[in-house]
């Protein structure tokens, strides 16, 4: 499986954020998108996720499921964590498991993996920022998708959480998965850097 972009140009509010960006990444590899604030890291992830149209250029996936589009094979973990405060931890996770469909694994087991098994029935409104992030990570585990698009995934995580997540990413890559992450901090795994914005 190979994800590539050619001559991508990003315009936000009539201003060029970046242009002529090429990238390529293969199964088993993690691509770290690095750059200053406002350099377009999140925009690039949203373009890959199909949520934002590039002003020029194209993004293509080779070797994926031919029946599905690129966004349908991808998980997207963003700053906003898609959790409903009124629903409990397990209700939030089970909803995404049913809605996203595909190969589902045991939701309670996933919560145990991310260290939320003691808070299964707690409404998500009472979770801390780090716990919310852990619940978003559980979503990555509960439905298998080959491509993970991660926007500052380790931001709110404590040190134990970061090493837990690094182990999960290594496991995902070993299964032939692919990761594109926008980050300022080292993710704790071997990554290839893609500098964008003024740095490129």
């Amino acid at each position: 499986m190979r994800l590539s972009g050619r001559g991508i140009r990003c315009m936000r509010g009539g201003r060029d954020v970046f242009s002529g960006l090429d990238f390529e990444t293969c199964a088993g590899e993690a691509l770290a998108v690095v750059g200053t604030n406002g350099s377009g890291k999140t925009s690039l992830l949203r373009m890959i996720a199909g949520l934002l149209a590039p002003a020029a250029g194209s993004i293509a996936l080779e070797g994926g499921d031919v029946e599905l589009t690129l966004p349908e094979q991808a998980h997207y973990v963003a700053h906003r964590d898609a959790l409903k405060p009124a629903l409990s931890v397990i209700e939030n996770l089970l909803f995404w498991q049913k809605f996203l469909g595909g190969d589902a694994s045991d939701a309670k087991g996933c919560l145990a993996t991310v260290g939320l098994d003691h808070a299964i029935h707690l409404p998500a409104a009472y979770l801390s920022a780090g716990q919310r992030r852990r619940l978003s990570i559980a979503r990555l585990l509960t439905v298998r998708r080959p491509i993970w698009l991660l926007d500052e995934p380790t931001n709110a995580l404590d040190r134990a959480g970061q090493s837990m997540f690094a182990a999960l990413m290594i496991d995902h890559l070993a299964r032939g998965g692919l990761i594109v992450a926008a980050t300022h901090m080292p993710l704790g795994i071997i990554t290839r850097e893609l500098p964008i914005g003024s740095a490129s």
């Binding site: 949203r46 199909g50 906003r80 964590d81 898609a82 089970l94 809605f99």
Partner: protein
């Protein structure tokens, strides 16, 4: 199908829990209708004559009240991104969200109608006729209002824009809803306006999800 059922169940559950806003619409409906006799005076004949219009206007305003949260809440917490990315066609996901919204916010208005009919001196036949028109007509309000809710999300504008966008679209529903109710009360032909009302609902089921999905797909950034 499980994905859509999960979406409907989640939205109904959120609406019925604390802070969900499902009850707000019914309470608003109740307040508007209760205020009318105070404003119009104790003339029972007048209240009976204006009854269908008052109930329909109350239901229209009450259904507008909660409509802006239909996509806005999902947009604010990032759920909408995942729904757009999902394997479920966005049109069906929009329809599922509108159905859930109607179950939580529209259906209670229909259920409250018999009690409110008493306050407006309406007899059993009139109340059941109005209840029936609301049962058929409120889904049309939700499904046309969904277009406005999707536009409000993509234009980053809240409630007031929604009211301005949606109220003109609901004029036909209001006309035929009130016409069918008054026909039933006055003993005229109930069938013709009621059938048109049903047709308007069916049209909104088709157009609403497609228009809302198109707006969401092109407007997100």
């Amino acid at each position: 199908m499980t994905a859509l059922a999960a979406l409907v169940r989640r939205d109904v559950k959120i609406a019925l829990r604390v802070g969900g806003g499902a009850l707000i619409g019914v309470l608003f409906f109740l307040t508007v209708v209760v205020l009318m006799p105070f404003a119009l005076g104790p003339d029972l004949a007048l209240l009976t004559r204006l009854g269908p219009a008052i109930l329909w206007l109350g239901a229209l305003l009450a259904s507008l009240l909660t409509l802006d949260r239909l996509f806005m809440a999902d947009h604010e917490d990032g759920s909408l991104d995942l729904i757009v990315m999902g394997r479920v066609p966005l049109e069906l996901a929009c329809a599922a969200k509108a159905l859930a919204h109607w179950l939580a916010a529209g259906l209670p208005l229909v259920i409250a109608t018999p009690a409110l009919g008493l306050l407006l001196n309406l007899d059993a036949t009139s109340t059941s006729a109005i209840g029936l028109t609301l049962l058929v007509g409120t889904p049309a309000l939700t499904f046309t209002g969904m277009i406005g809710a999707a536009l409000a999300v993509t234009l980053h504008r809240g409630g007031l824009l929604l009211a301005v966008l949606v109220l003109p679209l609901s004029i036909p529903v209001l006309i035929f809803g009130v016409a069918a109710s008054e026909a039933a009360i006055g003993g005229f032909s109930f069938g013709a306006p009621f059938t048109i009302l049903c047709a308007l609902s069916l049209i909104s089921f088709v157009i609403g999800p497609f228009a809302a999905a198109a707006s969401l797909r092109h407007g997100l950034d």
